[in-house]
Symmetry: none
Subunit: 224 residues, 2 copies
Amino acid sequence: MRILVVDDDAQIIRAMRINMRARGYDVDTAFDGASALQAAAKHPPDVVLLDLGLPDMEGGEVIEGLRAWTSVPIIVLSARHSASEKVRSLDAGADDYVTKPFGMDELMARIRAAQRRSMHVEEAPVVTTAAFTVDLGAKRVTRGDEEVRLTPTEWHILEVLARNAGRLISQRQLLHEVWGPNYQSETNYLRVYMAQLRRKLEPDPAHPLYLITEAGMGYRFEKG
Amino acid sequence: MRILVVDDDAQIIRAMRINMRARGYDVDTAFDGASALQAAAKHPPDVVLLDLGLPDMEGGEVIEGLRAWTSVPIIVLSARHSASEKVRSLDAGADDYVTKPFGMDELMARIRAAQRRSMHVEEAPVVTTAAFTVDLGAKRVTRGDEEVRLTPTEWHILEVLARNAGRLISQRQLLHEVWGPNYQSETNYLRVYMAQLRRKLEPDPAHPLYLITEAGMGYRFEKG
DNA sequence: GTTGATCTTGTAGCCATCGTGAAGGAAAGC
DNA sequence: GCTTTCCTTCACGATGGCTACAAGATCAAC
C-alpha cells in the first residue's frame, strides 16, 4: 500500500513517514503541488494525504489535478476550520477533511476507511499491441487468447517499460527500478531478461518489434 | 436521493428533515437501532446519517447490521470527540465521522462526497464459476447444491479475491486486508489458507483452476 | 577483412517460494 | 467446565526463478 504525503513542512513529513512506515505503508512525499502531481503520476499511490496551504498551488487545484485522471482517495489535512474551505475541498473531489491537530489513530482509521471504499474501484490501464496485451491493473499479459506466465522480475521490467511506452528507458533506470540502487552496472541481467521477455512475447524474438534495444543506451517499448 | 436519519432526539430529526427536504432529499427517519435497520431494509437509502448513543444498540452494532448486506455510505454524527470512538466506528464500516456541533454546509458537502464515491461502486454481488458460487452479499458459498462452510478468515480471503476477480492480488495486499498492517511478511498464513480454500472449493485441489498462485507475486481468482 | 564492443542464447547450482500435513493452543459456543 | 472450531506455527519435499558465467552472434569502425 503506497501513500503519498503532501506537506510543505519538513517536520510533519518526517513524522508522517515514520508513522506510516511503522504501520506498513510505503511512503512517498512531496513539498508542493507540482511535485505532488508529478509523484502521483510516476508511482500511483493508494491514498493521498494533502495539506492545504502549499507554496505553489491552491489546494483545490491539486485536487482537480489528481481527479483529472485518478480516483485515488484524497484526505485533506488542514489547520483551517472554516466551513467554506471544507466544502470547497470536498466538492472539488476530496474524500475527507481532517482539521489539525488530529490524533494519529483517527487519521489511520480514516485512511483505512478511504482505502476500503476505493478497493473495488481501481482503474485498469491497459497497453495493447498487435501481438499481445499488457493489463497493468490486473498484472496479466495475454497473447492472443492465451495467458502468458511471467516471473516477478520479468513482469517488473515489462511494467516499467509499458508504463513508459514509446519512451527510452536507460539501463541504469531499469536496473535501479527493478533490482534496486546497488545494481547499476549489472547490464547483462537486462540482456538476459529482455531475451526471455522477447521469447515469451515477440512473434519473432530474433527481430523484435515491441521490445526494442537502443544499443548502448537502453530499451524502449514500442506499441505499434 | 433517499436519506435515512437515525437519531433519538425528535428535535434534531425534525430539523434534519426540514433541511434535507429543502435540499431535495427524500427523508426517512428512525429513533433507535432496531427501527433503523428495519427502515433501511424496507427502503434502501442512498445515505445513512447515524447518531451514536441510541437507546437500544451500540453504534457499532448498527453499522455492522447495515454492513452485513449493504455498502450504503454511513456518516456517523456524534457529540463524542474521543479518538477511540471514531476509530471504532470507522473500522466497523462507517464512511465518515462528524462531531457535533457541525455546520449544515459541511455536513451536506460530506454527504455529497460520500454519495459521489458510492456512485461508481457497481457491485457484482455474486461471482460464479463452473465449480462453485460466491455470494458476496449473503456471505455464502455454494458448490453444486450444497453450502460450503468457511471460517471467518477463509471467507475474508475469498471475498477479497472474488471482489477482484481476474486481478492479481499481491501477498502483501491480502495480508494487509485480512490480518491488518502488522502481518505483511507472514506469507505462510496465506499458503495454509489458500490450501484450505482449495480443498473446500476446487474440484482437484492439487491442480487449482480458480484460486491461482502466481509465484512470487500473489494470488488470482480466475472465473472461467 | 579484422577487431572489439555489445547483444543473444544456453547452462548449471543455489536458494527462495510454494504446497501440504499435522499439532499445539486460543477462543467460542453449549 | 467441556467440546468444538478456528488460528497459528512448524517441518518437509518439490518446484522453479535468480544469479553467474561462458560461448556464439551481430554490428560498427577502421
